[in-house]
C-alpha cells in the first residue's frame, strides 16, 4: 500500500467536494438544521407548559382562585372559555383537545368543606376531551397530580411518602445535551454511508472506476482514501454542529479523545457498509434507496433521537444489534457521563464491527462494471 497513492486520491476527492459548493453546503447544513430544529423543540422539555382551557360555570371567588392556582403550578397556560358556551361544541369548533369545567356550586361546596367542616361535601370537576389528541392523556395526568395536591392540602394532613430527586450527574443537563451525541452519530453515519454509495456508484457509472482498474491503485488504497475523505468531512461537520450547539443552546459537554475515536470508528463501519452496498446496486437511484433502507431503521431504532427504553422489548433487543447504537451510547458515555469504561466497551464493540465490514468492503469492491 502506498501512502502517496492514498494521499493523491484523497486530494482529488476533497477538491471535488470543495469545488462543488452546493453539496458542501448541504453536507454541513443538514445536521446543523437538525440540531437547531430539535434543539428548539426540546429546549423547554424540562418546563412543559400546556395550554389549558377552563370553563368556570361558578364564577365565584373560590373558583377564580382555583383557576389561578392551576396557572401558578407552572404546568399550564390558562385560557378561559365563555361560561355560556357549549364545551363539547367549543372543543370541536376550536380544535381544542381538553376543556376543564368547574361546575356551579363550586364555592358552596368549598365553604361546606373548609369552614363548616362537612367532610362529605365534594365537587366534581369535569374534563371534556378529544381522545384523538396525542397530548391529552399527559395533560389529564398532570391535572390529576395537581388536583391530588390540592386535595391533600385541604385535608390538612402532612404527606406520608415524600420523593427526593438525586441525579447521578453532578450537573443538571438540558435535553439538547443528550440529543447532540445522537445527532453527531447519525450525521456521521449518513455522511459516510450516502457519501460512499453515491460517490462510488457515480464514478462507476461514469466509467472512472473502469479507468482506475487499469492503473496500479489497489482496492485497499481506494477504500482507505474513502475512509480518510469521509473522516475529514465528518470532523468538519461535527465541529460545525458543536459550534452551533455551544453558540445557540449554551451546551456543556465533555470533549475528549473519545469523540474523534468514535467518529473514526463510525466512518470505518459505514464506509465499509457503503462499499458492500455499492457492490450490489447498479444505478445511482437504487444506490440512494439502498442507503435509505439501511440508514432509516438505524436512525430511529438505535436511540439517536429518543431512548430505546421507550420501544417495545423486541425492538430494544434489535436496537442492541445495530452498530449505531454503540456509537450513540459511546458518545453519550464520553460526552455526558465522562465514563471511560463504558466508552471503551462501546468502542470495542463498534471497532470489531468496523474491522469486519472494512475487510468485507474491500473484498466487495469490484472494479469492473460486471457487464
Amino acid at each position: 500500500m502506498s501512502p502517496r497513492v492514498v494521499g493523491a486520491t484523497l486530494f482529488v476527492k476533497l477538491m471535488s467536494v470543495y469545488r462543488e459548493k452546493t453539496t458542501m453546503f448541504f453536507t454541513l447544513a443538514f445536521p446543523i438544521i437538525l440540531i437547531l430544529v430539535f434543539g428548539t423543540i426540546f429546549m423547554g422539555k424540562d418546563n412543559v407548559n400546556f395550554q389549558l382551557y377552563v370553563q368556570d360555570l361558578d364564577q365565584s371567588n373560590s373558583s377564580t382562585k382555583s383557576v389561578e392556582a392551576l396557572g401558578e403550578s407552572g404546568k399550564f397556560k390558562i385560557i378561559m372559555v365563555d361560561p355560556a358556551a357549549n364545551a363539547t361544541q367549543y372543543i370541536r369548533d376550536n380544535k381544542v383537545d381538553l376543556v376543564l369545567v368547574i361546575p356551579k356550586g363550586f364555592e358552596v361546596s368549598v365553604i361546606q368543606r373548609t369552614i363548616l367542616k362537612d367532610y362529605k361535601a365534594s365537587v366534581s370537576i369535569t374534563y371534556i376531551y378529544d381522545p384523538s389528541s396525542s397530548t391529552v392523556s399527559t395533560k389529564m395526568e398532570i391535572l390529576n397530580g395537581v388536583l391530588a395536591g390540592i386535595n391533600l392540602e385541604m385535608s390538612g394532613m402532612p404527606p406520608f411518602i415524600r420523593s427526593v430527586e438525586q441525579s447521578i450527574l453532578t450537573k443538571k443537563y438540558q435535553f439538547i445535551e443528550f440529543f447532540i451525541p445522537g445527532i453527531i452519530a447519525m450525521a456521521v453515519m449518513t455522511l459516510s454511508l450516502f457519501g460512499t454509495v453515491n460517490l462510488n456508484t457515480e464514478l462507476r457509472q461514469k466509467g472512472i472506476i473502469r479507468k482506475l482498474s487499469t492503473t496500479p491503485i489497489t482496492r485497499t488504497e481506494w477504500v482507505l482514501s474513502d475512509i480518510l475523505y469521509q473522516f475529514i468531512l465528518a470532523v468538519i461537520s461535527t465541529i460545525a454542529m458543536l459550534l452551533v450547539s455551544y453558540a445557540v443552546f449554551d451546551v456543556s459537554l465533555h470533549l475528549n479523545a473519545w469523540l474523534p475515536v468514535f467518529i473514526l470508528l463510525n466512518v470505518f463501519a459505514f464506509v465499509g457498509i457503503g462499499m458492500i452496498l455499492t457492490r450490489f446496486v447498479k444505478e445511482a437511484q437504487s444506490a440512494a434507496a439502498a442507503a435509505n433502507a439501511i440508514s432509516f431503521p438505524m436512525m430511529f431504532l438505535s436511540g439517536s433521537f429518543f431512548p430505546i427504553e421507550l420501544m417495545p422489548g423486541f425492538l430494544q433487543t434489535l436496537a442492541r444489534t445495530l452498530p449505531l447504537y454503540y456509537v450513540n451510547e459511546g458518545l453519550r458515555a464520553s460526552m455526558i457521563f465522562d465514563d471511560n469504561l463504558a466508552a471503551l466497551h462501546d468502542s470495542a464493540v463498534i471497532g470489531v464491527f468496523a474491522a469486519v465490514v472494512f475487510v468485507l468492503g474491500i473484498i466487495a469492491t469490484k472494479w469492473e462494471e460486471g457487464r
Binding site: 486530494f11 473502469r210 479507468k211 496500479p216
Partner: protein, 317 residues
C-alpha cells in the same frame, strides 16, 4: 530472445460468454512491438469486450492472453504499470483540472516522474490545462484521456474507440495525436468502427463481426485479397441507365438518388456498360473507377455495414 518477447500481445483462442451471448468467439492474433493494430467492426461486434480482456479490465471465459510476455490472468499487477488504457466512453473527475488529473494519474504509477508539461503539449491541451474536466468539449476530453493513457510512458497503449461521438474536426485532432504515437514507435491496440481511422492509423487491421475475426492484414492486403473488383460510379445518370445495367447482369446500387455504383471485375465490364448506355441513347454526366475501401470489404465479408445508415451509401456496389 523468446517467442513471447517478440510480440507485445498474443491472443490465443480467446472466448467470452455472457450467459447465452457469445461476445467473443475463439479469436487469435498477435501484435508486434511498435505496431498499430486495429480491431475494426460495427457496434456490438465484440471489439470492446476483446480489448477489455486484453487490457485486464475483464476476465475471459476461456483462452489465453499474453501481454509483454506475461499472462494477463496471473500478472495483472505487473502488467498495469506497463500499459496505458483509454477505455470506451472515457470520463474523469468533473471538478478536477486537466493538470491536476494528469498529476493524479501520474502519482498512481509509483516512482515514475512524468513531465506533465510535455504531455500536455503532446495532446495540445496547453491552453486548457487549468480548465476543469466538466468544461472540456468531447474532443478535448478524449485528448485528455489519451494523455492519461500515456502518463507513465507505457509500452503498450489501448485505445477503445478514441473518436466515437466526436465531430469531424475533433476526430481529425485526435488522429493527429495518434499519428504522433505511431511515429514514436508505441505499440497501439485500437478499436474503431471508422474505416478511415483504421486505414489511416493501423499497420494491421482485424475485421471482427459477431465476435469472430473474419479477416486480418494490412489495409492494402485486406482490400487486395478480399475485393478483387473495382467500383464504377456513373454520376448524374438518366433514369433508364439503372435498368440497362441491371439487364446486363450487374447489380447496380443507387447512391444519393443520382449516381449508381456498380461492382466490376474486368476492364471489359466497363466497356460493355458504357457501350450499352451509349447505344440506348441514355445520358450520364461523369464516371469514376476506383478500388473499394475497407468499409466495402467489410460489407462484402459480413453483409452488414460498419455504421448505421452506411449500407446504402457506398457499401453495396
Amino acid at each position: 530472445m523468446t517467442k513471447e518477447s517478440d510480440y507485445a500481445i498474443e491472443v490465443e483462442n480467446l472466448t467470452k460468454r455472457y450467459g447465452d451471448l457469445l461476445s467473443v468467439n475463439d479469436i487469435s492474433f498477435t501484435v508486434n512491438r511498435g505496431e498499430v493494430f486495429a480491431l475494426l467492426g460495427p457496434n456490438g461486434a465484440g471489439k470492446t469486450t476483446a480489448v477489455e480482456i486484453i487490457d485486464t479490465i475483464r476476465t475471459p471465459t476461456s483462452g489465453k492472453v499474453t501481454l509483454l510476455g506475461m499472462d494477463v490472468s496471473k500478472k495483472k499487477h505487473d502488467i498495469v504499470s506497463r500499459i496505458g488504457v483509454l477505455p470506451q466512453g472515457f470520463s474523469s473527475f468533473d471538478r478536477i483540472t486537466v493538470r491536476e488529473t494528469l498529476q493524479y494519474y501520474s502519482r498512481l504509477y509509483r516512482g515514475r516522474n512524468t513531465d506533465i508539461d510535455r504531455l500536455i503539449e503532446l495532446v495540445n491541451l496547453k491552453d486548457k490545462s487549468k480548465e476543469q474536466y466538466r468544461n472540456l468539449s468531447g474532443g478535448l476530453r478524449q485528448r485528455l484521456g489519451i494523455a492519461l493513457a500515456l502518463v507513465h510512458d507505457p509500452e503498450v497503449v489501448f485505445l477503445d474507440e478514441p473518436t466515437t461521438g466526436l465531430d469531424p474536426r475533433a476526430r481529425h485532432e485526435v488522429w493527429e495525436v495518434l499519428q504522433g504515437l505511431k511515429e514514436r514507435g508505441k505499440t497501439v491496440l485500437l478499436t474503431t468502427h471508422y474505416m478511415e481511422e483504421a486505414e489511416l492509423l493501423a499497420d494491421t487491421v482485424a475485421i471482427i463481426s459477431k465476435g469472430k475475426i473474419i479477416a486480418m492484414g494490412s489495409p492494402g492486403e485486406l482490400i487486395e485479397t478480399n475485393a478483387k473488383y473495382h467500383i464504377l460510379t456513373l454520376q448524374s445518370v438518366d433514369e433508364k441507365v439503372f435498368e440497362i445495367v441491371r439487364k446486363l447482369g450487374f447489380e447496380p446500387v443507387l447512391d444519393n438518388h443520382k449516381d449508381i455504383k456498380i461492382r466490376v471485375v474486368h476492364t471489359n465490364d466497363v466497356q460493355q456498360i458504357l457501350s450499352a448506355i451509349k447505344n440506348s441513347g441514355a445520358l450520364h454526366l461523369g464516371l469514376d473507377v476506383r478500388k473499394p475501401n475497407l468499409e466495402e470489404v467489410f460489407l462484402k465479408l459480413t453483409g452488414e455495414a460498419l455504421r448505421d445508415g452506411h449500407a446504402g451509401e457506398e457499401g453495396s456496389a
